[in-house]
Structure formats: structure tokens, C-alpha cells
Symmetry: C2
Subunit: 599 residues, 2 copies
């Protein structure tokens, strides 16, 4: 069995050379985030992930969270690990120093989130959800609420959770029914049921703070009548400590395909007098408040997919270098060579690794854009970076999570029959991965967001700026004759993406439905080409470093090799996606539901 | 929850119009296999699948087979269903009448296997393995052995199983260590361990007959020293009935990702005096004997993938027509329209359905080729059909099973969060599907078989014959102006496949490793284009039938629509696969194992 080792060198390479981490320390508030600091934080995080979280991943899958009448119990060992996580200060890494956080850039937070998710995705979901709740409270909570709750949520002493979904209300939140009635003292009483509440109840923290969407009496129907409430599991006593139990409970937890260590709760509010809740943000502005954390939350899904994929890759690679089976066709292979010497096995490992490199580049570069969008001194710079973030967030979420499905599936395949046996561990990643394309906005919704909102609203401006950056890289590649495969592929990608973009802008003049019927393939096209662009930059840096690399030579050779493989074997997919977009909306829209129902 | 209904109309359409079932009744020995008979057998099979097998699928997943010290117990209800299966005569459908079979064509057997696998894949594996054992015994067993065992295996009273794999010997059987020592009475005593033995022990039948690969003393090393033995769990008494227990047992069963209802056994032979076994076929010719059943067994994997995919589709479609969520952009959609009215959901359903139509066409047409290869009166016809079968078997196995991974994954996605909850059932198909690309020769091995053996050995003759058939269809399409999208896609497919084929034949002159480094993408290219060719034929038949279709019009409209969708959204993938082949072997072969190990 392979253990997890954070790929610190890969991570630092991307942070340094593609995301330009050093320049973040020049932004106001990030002065302390020097490369040295980032590197040492990363070291520590890698150690914590390997030593404290990774060993609990398979056990947490086998002995998942359990519902009991007295409350939900986390998997054995999770509560202790969480206590250490809090004690290590990991929960507040990117939160503002005002509320006890370390105030480090999102880029740094992304790197540590990669490690937590690789080490133990089920566990990592707990701080991941807390982060969204913290962000909402920071931005929209009034002084009394933030004073009472924020610091302990930032430290991790209390965890946070997001309560949006109801049985009849998933992708479309317009139909939410949970009611919030004013209690007359400024607080509210909530009544209703929420489902799929990640870490909605557990025994790892002294309190669980729910951010709940609900309707006020006489609120307008639809999305404009939804408000946001903070609902603590335990009401605070006069000392601000958890006291009386609120009128809420986890009625059950789901029996899921994966992430068994993460309790997915059905929460019931107000079986007696109503659960005490406090309004966050203005009345009926709950969904607008949600937008504050949506980019960050969706970005974290891409990072989650990245981490899980890397874990699957590490295990598959270890197996491929251990398992001996069959004589490789390679005449130079030793007599009892492991299966990594078979070309088809290396092809599978390269499919995994080259896409993981692209995912990491996309996630980290976007994270740095988020940091610049928030902190760049010039308004225009902030605007420009924000536009890039808004454009790429659906791609980070959906393209990376689709890749995770492929990569974790390949991870099983590399193991052969052993991969299908649960004890091996490869199957768990395949099961765990399947939720990420679904939650935090399905990938179909991401695609519609990309085309319907991000592309059509600014009439392609942000996309053209991205294409211009790609073209600059293509031009730089002219000086690198050794990277011809990469330049050709990138050049084709730029052309195809440009054409597809213009065709959707045209279709958008007809109707939103027509523009978005193949939005999914457009999104995959954007992801494929953007990944190729970033790996082209990776290849140039690595190629330049080769000569003076010394002992590091194999590392840089690998960086050129994965970028070249991506250009040769992943970039070709752009032709498929571009062709689907070019084939238009008719093949989908002309098939009526009735036609599908026939036969 | 949706029940399973065998898609009889879809099945009959392919049997009739693409596989030309009627002409099979003209072959010697198949005289009784008239379209009427096939249709009524199919009706009955559909009923049996829906009523007896499908209801045990989810329960068998939850309460899987169990190992006990007294023997392996099948899932609740399975034994009764198996008794009914045997009583219905289903086990011997395609076996020769000489041994009590019905002697129906492989085409018919494929259709019923689709139903068994759709209804309950774990259950279906039992008769599926029996069929391989029967085939070996029919072809290589001596008179005494066949007299003693064959009839009861054909009826299903006794089940059969294949014992090939050992811990050190999976994809490469050269390293098998199980020993068979002559006992002096013509029988042998076996000693060793076999793993991954599907239905290796259970309580559904009175005896289990193992076909076991083992080495005789002083056998040559490697694949040329492997012999085949029949090893019954219970030795037969003087009346030919199961008597004394043989020296063998299931030491454990695997805890697997899916197919929980199918016990995967570790079999131990010869813990005392050795397990009594009987030689099947000549000494040291065990692997050659195996080739007899290999095409049939690998074909059944494609059919299994087809059945499981259709089950996943039926469930996803039912959900899409039931679940109401969000307002569709379609202005004609009713107020509370189900999600099937969302374009992106229909796109996902069409990705599933169009590929299922192509898989069924490929599986059934190849099955009819198998029938013709065995029974056509003219030698040249038999040779021609056999060459087509040999060429397409790895494609049937690998392309269909890759599609099943995609389709069962989409099935989860269509359900949204509900798909991740095990009770829904969609997740089971995703778990079950993952084994099919692995067993019966991994898909990587299928790809190497296709290029290294099927393509290079006859220097592309069989592939050029297939391309000629495709070109004839393309020419026929000229008379169908309404199918322009399909004709364009097919035309591009023929060109790309021709080019890729010639390039691999060239690479083959360099080395086998170079020709097969991207064999997987070549296989996927063949599958994609062959599927498009068969759906082009489907579209012509359906388009011609439209005018006089009456109430059947929606059915034929759907057949044109799925073929058109396939041309517009699946065929574009051929460009990606063709480009990977065109980009050559360097991106894989230039990456050494050492380079992958760096970092």
C-alpha cells in the first residue's frame, strides 16, 4: 500500500513559475506571504496530511460516519485529527487576521486544500464547508453576529455548514419552502427540512453553525424571497459558550457511493417551537449573499478533484512500479520488469499525470487571479483579474471534476483485477470522485453559467482576453524549436476556441437555449485548451531549466514530457469538442422529450 | 424506482434490419430459428428478466454472496431464481441439441444475455461462465468426460467456472504454478491456488465444474507447458451423481467495488492428497484450447456492457421524466415540466441512448457474423465472416465496456445528488460497470490484440474489407439527402480510419512496441466509426419506414434522431483518436519509467 506524499515540488513549481507567487507578497496585506513562508507552510501541511489525515482515509471509508439517536458520530480517529488540525492553526490559514486568521493568499489556501483533499477528501469537506460559512458571515453578518461567532469558526473550534437544498429544491433554489418567522426579539424561528447537508451534525467540534436559506412570511415568491440565517446547533449562553440545544436535529444521514467519512445529513428544523436563527444580510437577499462565496466554493471543487486525482495517481504509479506481469516489448527492460515498462501502462499513467499537471496549473493560476482581483492596487487590474476569475471558475469546477472521473477510473484500470478489490484502495477514489461533478452546482449548470452568463453577458470580452494571453504564449514558443508539438497543438486550440466562441455569440442572438444546448462541450473545449496553454508555459520554464538542472534534470524532463504528452494525446480532444459545438444545437433540441420517451 | 423492461422493439429492430436474423434460418442447423421463434423466445426472456431477475439486482448488491466455513452462500433469492432459470431451459439456449441444448444462433443468445445482464449482472455471470466451460468441454473433452458432465452443465443443473488467474499470474498466464500430477489411473491430482474465480463456489447448483489451467510435471516452462483440467467440486459416484467432496475449497471471497451478488473466490486445491482432475484436450495444449472460447467470452463482455448500460439508461430516463426542477428554457415546456425538458439533460440521455444503439448494433451484427462463420455452407464465406469476427471481437469487448463506464457515469449525473445515494440504484451500475474493462483480458490487452495480432498479421486485409463495407453504406447514403450529417460523419470516419490503419501498418515494420503504443486510441477509433457505420444503416432503414409507420412513427423518428445525434456528437471523437494515433509513439515511448518516477 502506498502512502500519500504531498507533491511539494510539483506544487511549488506551479506556484512559483505559473502563478508567480512571489509577486503576491507585493500586494497590500500579503506582505508576509513570501516564497520562503509559503514553502515552509507547505512543508508542514504536507507532513500533517501524510501523517494525520491520509492514514484515516481508508478506515473512514470502511467505518463511515454513523447516525445515532444521540447525534451523528464521526469515523474513528477523525475527531482527534480535527483537534490537531485546529491546534495547528490550519483552519484559519486564509481568513483575515481581524478574526484570528493568518491572512495568507488564496493560492496558499488552494495548495493546502489540495493536500487535505488528497489525504482525506471526506475529512477535508468539513473545513471546506466551514470556509464558505465563514466567508458569508465575514461579508454579511452584523457586528453582534460576527463578534459572537466568527472567531471560533475561523479557529475551527466551531464548524460551519451550508443549508440550501430541500427535497423539491436542488439545482433550482426558487422553490425553497423552509420558513423563518420573526420572534419579536430580532431573532427568528425556523421550520423546515434541508437535505444533503455536508457535516451537518457531528462530534468533532463544540458547536455547528448552519447558514440556512429560508423564507420570511410574505416574502416574494421565487429567488427574490429567500433570506439567509445563521442557526447554531447549540444556542450561546451568557458567556458566549454553547448552551441549550436548538430546536433542530439530523434526522438521518445518507448511505452514499463514497465519502463515507463525511456525514451527509437531513436536517429538521422546528419540530417544537422553531429553531432559533439570526438574519445574515438584508431580508430577501439570501441568494445574492450566496454569490459572495460561490466562486471560492466552486474553485475548491476543482482543487478537490485535483487532490483526489493525485492520490489516485500516486497509488497507481506505486503499483505500476511494483507489480511484475508479462514481458514488456521494450528490449531494454530488465527481466522481471514491473508493468510500468509496458507502453500501455505508461500511457495510462501519463493520461493521469499530464491532466493532473494541467489541473494544478489551472487551479493555482486562478487562485492567484482571485488574490489579485481582491488586492491589486489599481481598480482596472482588479477588474481584469476578476473577469478572468469569473470566466474560469465554471471551468475549474467542471473540467477538473470531469478529469477526476477519468483519472480515478484509470487508477482502477492500472491495477487490473486488484483495482476492483476494495482493500486495494483505488476503488475508493473512483467512488469518492463521482460526487464532485454533482455538488456545488452540477457540471451542466457550470456549462450554462459559462456560456449563458460569462460569455454572452460581456459578449466574449473576457474570453478574448484569455485568447490573447494564449496567443502571446504561442508566440513565445517560436523561440523553442524543441517544443514544436506543443506549439502546434496550442495554435490549433486557440483557433478552435476562437471559432467556437464566435459561433456561440452568434447563436446567443437567437436564443439562450440554442447557445447553451452544447455548452458542456464548449466548457470542455475551454478547459482542454486552457490546460494546454498553461502546460506550454510549464514546458518553456522546464526546458530552459534543463541545462543547469544537475540532479534536478529528471524532474524538469518529466515536466517537458507531461506537457508534450498532453499536447499529443489530450489536446486532440479539442477537435471533438469543437466539432460538437460546430454541429450546432439541432441534434439536441430537435429531439423532443416525447421522441425520447418512445420505444 | 424504475423497473427493467427489455427493449424488445430496439432489439428486434437490430436483429431484423442490421443482423439480418431471417437469413440465419437458412443456415444448416438453424432451420428452426425463424424470426417468429426468435421473437417469441425474446418475449419470454424479457418477461423472465423483468419478473425474476431484475427484482433481485439491488437486493443482491446490498446482501451480496457470503463466505462461510461451510461454503459460499448466494444472495437471498438467487438460488430460487436460478432454479427457475434452469427449469425454463434458458441455460442451454445456444448449446448443441446433442447435449440437450436448443441449438439457437449466437445472435439469439446475445439478445438473451443482454437481458440477463441488464436485469442482474451479478446473477448473469453464473450462466456466462458456465457457457465458456461448456464450450471447452464440447470442443476438447473426450467421450467419457463429455458423457459424464456435459448434459448437466448444458441444462444448468451443474454450473461451470474458469480457473486461470493466480496471484502472480493474471494478464500473463505464462507464470502459472498450479501443479497437476498423474494419479496413475488416468486422472490427476491438482495442487495450487487460483484467484478471482467467478461463481467458484455457491449453493445454487448441485455441482460446480471447474476448468483449471495447471502444469504437468516436467512440462515446458512458459505458455507451452500449460494443460487444461476438469475439476468437479463433488466427485461423481457410480450413478454419475455428485458424491464425495473433492480436495478443494473456496478459501475466501473478495470484497469488491460491485457485482456483490457474484462470489469472486480464491480456490485452494490439494490441501490434502490433491484435487482429482481430468485432462481436457492434449497435454500442454491448455492455452490453445482456451482460444476456442475466447471470442465467445469476450463477445459476451460487450453484451454485458450493453445490458448494464441500457439498465442505467432506463433508470436515468425514468428519473428525467419524473423529477421536476427548474424552469426549462424551452418556451413550449409545460409549467412544471420534468428535467427531460432541459436541453442539457436530453443531451446526456442522448449520449447514453445513441451509444447504446451503436453497442447493440455492434454486438448483434458481430454475433450474426459468428453464426455465419460457423455455419455458412461455403468455405470462403466462413473464412470471411471469421476474419470479421476476429477483427471486431477486441472492439466489441473494449469499446463497449469503455462506453459502459461513460454511460453509467452519466446515469448517476442525470440523477444529481440522488444519484450519489445508494438507494436510488444508479450508483450500483457505475460500480458494477468498472470490472468489465478489466476482466476477460483488460482493454489494454484487447487493443494490443487488435493492432498486434488482428491488424499486423493479415497486413490490414480484414480491416480493409470492413472499410469497403462502410464505403458501400456511405454510397447508399447519397440517396438519403435527409441524412446529410450522418453521411458527412461516416465519410470522415472512413478516411480517418483508413489513414490510421495504414500508419500503424507502417509503424509495424519498425517494431511491435511502436505500432501498439497508441493501440488503445486506434481501437476506440475503430469502435467509434464502426458504431457510426451501423447507425447510418439504422437511420436509412428508419427513414424509409417513416412514411408508412403510422403509430410507430415516434419509434422510427427516435431511431433517426439517435443516429443523427451520434453522427453529430459521438463521431467527432474520431478526430481525437485519429490525431493521437497520428501523433505517433514518441509521446509515450520517449517517457522512460525513470522519468515517470521522478518528482
Amino acid at each position: 500500500m502506498s502512502d500519500y506524499h504531498a507533491p511539494l515540488r510539483d506544487m511549488l513549481f506551479v506556484m512559483t513559475h505559473l502563478a508567480d507567487a512571489a509577486s503576491l507578497a507585493e500586494l497590500p496585506g500579503y506582505e508576509e506571504a513570501t516564497p520562503d513562508l509559503l514553502s515552509s507552510v507547505l512543508d508542514e501541511a504536507g507532513r500533517f496530511g501524510s501523517e494525520r489525515l491520509a492514514p484515516l482515509n481508508q478506515t473512514g471509508d470502511r467505518d463511515g460516519a454513523r447516525w445515532t439517536p444521540e447525534g451523528v458520530l464521526s469515523s474513528p480517529g477523525f475527531a482527534d485529527a480535527y483537534a490537531d488540525f485546529v491546534a495547528g492553526g490550519w483552519n484559519g490559514l486564509t481568513a483575515t487576521p481581524d478574526s484570528g486568521g493568518m491572512g495568507l493568499p488564496t493560492l496558499m489556501g488552494s495548495a493546502t486544500h489540495e493536500i487535505w483533499n488528497a489525504a482525506n477528501m471526506a475529512f477535508a469537506l468539513c473545513p471546506l464547508l466551514s470556509a464558505s460559512a465563514i466567508k458569508l458571515l465575514e461579508n454579511h453578518g452584523d457586528e453582534a453576529l460576527t463578534a459572537a461567532y466568527l472567531e471560533k469558526m475561523v479557529s475551527g473550534e466551531w464548524t460551519g455548514t451550508m443549508d440550501l437544498t430541500e427535497p423539491q429544491s436542488g439545482s433550482d433554489l426558487a422553490t425553497i419552502r423552509t420558513r423563518a418567522e420573526p420572534a419579536g426579539d430580532g431573532s427568528y424561528r425556523l421550520f423546515g427540512q434541508k437535505i444533503y447537508i455536508t457535516w451537518g451534525e457531528h462530534d468533532m467540534a463544540a458547536n455547528t453553525i448552519h447558514l440556512v436559506l429560508a423564507r420570511l412570511p410574505d416574502a416574494p415568491t421565487g429567488v427574490k424571497g429567500i433570506s439567509l440565517f445563521l442557526v447554531p446547533r447549540y444556542l450561546l449562553d451568557d458567556n458566549g459558550e454553547p448552551g441549550t440545544t436548538n430546536d433542530m436535529r439530523a434526522a438521518s444521514i445518507e448511505h452514499k457511493l463514497g465519502i463515507h467519512g463525511s456525514p451527509t445529513c437531513t436536517m429538521v428544523y422546528g419540530e417544537a417551537d422553531g429553531a432559533v436563527g439570526y438574519l445574515v444580510g438584508p431580508e430577501n437577499q439570501g441568494l445574492r449573499c450566496m454569490f459572495t462565496m460561490m466562486n471560492a466554493a466552486r474553485h475548491k471543487m476543482g482543487v478537490q478533484a485535483l487532490g483526489l486525482s493525485d492520490r489516485a495517481y500516486q497509488r497507481a504509479r506505486a503499483y505500476a512500479f511494483d507489480r511484475v506481469q508479462g514481458r514488456p516489448a521494450d528490449p531494454d527492460a530488465p527481466a522481471s520488469a514491473p508493468i510500468a515498462h509496458h507502453a500501455d501502462v505508461r500511457r495510462m499513467l501519463l493520461l493521469m499525470k499530464s491532466q493532473i499537471d494541467a489541473m494544478r496549473a489551472l487551479c493555482y493560476v486562478t487562485a492567484a487571479d482571485m488574490d489579485r482581483a481582491g488586492r491589486a492596487p489599481e481598480t482596472e487590474d482588479r477588474r481584469r483579474h476578476q473577469a478572468r476569475v469569473d470566466l474560469l471558475i465554471p471551468v475549474v469546477k467542471a473540467w477538473c471534476t470531469e478529469a477526476a472521473i477519468e483519472i480515478t477510473s484509470l487508477g482502477v484500470q492500472v491495477h487490473g483485477g486488484m483495482g476492483y478489490v476494495e482493500e486495494t484502495g483505488a476503488a475508493q477514489y473512483y467512488r469518492d470522485a463521482r460526487i464532485i461533478p454533482i455538488y456545488e452546482g452540477t457540471n451542466g449548470i457550470q456549462a450554462i453559467d459559462l456560456v449563458g452568463r460569462k460569455l454572452l453577458r460581456d459578449q466574449g470580452e473576457a474570453m478574448r482576453a484569455l485568447l490573447a494571453d494564449m496567443s502571446a504564449t504561442r508566440d513565445e514558443l517560436a523561440a523553442h524549436a524543441e517544443l514544436g508539438t506543443i506549439r502546434t497543438a496550442l495554435s490549433e486550440g486557440i483557433d478552435a476556441l476562437g471559432t467556437a466562441t464566435e459561433s456561440l455569440l452568434e447563436a446567443g442572438k437567437l436564443s439562450g437555449e440554442q447557445a447553451t444546448a452544447n455548452a458542456f462541450d464548449y466548457l470542455m473545449l475551454v478547459g482542454t485548451v486552457t490546460g494546454g496553454w498553461l502546460l506550454a508555459r510549464q514546458a518553456m520554464v522546464a526546458s530552459d531549466a534543463l541545462d543547469k538542472a544537475g540532479d534536478d534534470r529528471p524532474f524538469y524532463e518529466q515536466k517537458v514530457a507531461t506537457a508534450t504528452f498532453y499536447a499529443a494525446q489530450i489536446m486532440p480532444r479539442l477537435h471533438a469538442h469543437a466539432r460538437v459545438v460546430a454541429n450546432g444545437f439541432e441534434p439536441v433540441l430537435s429531439v423532443s422529450p416525447a421522441m425520447l420517451a418512445a420505444g
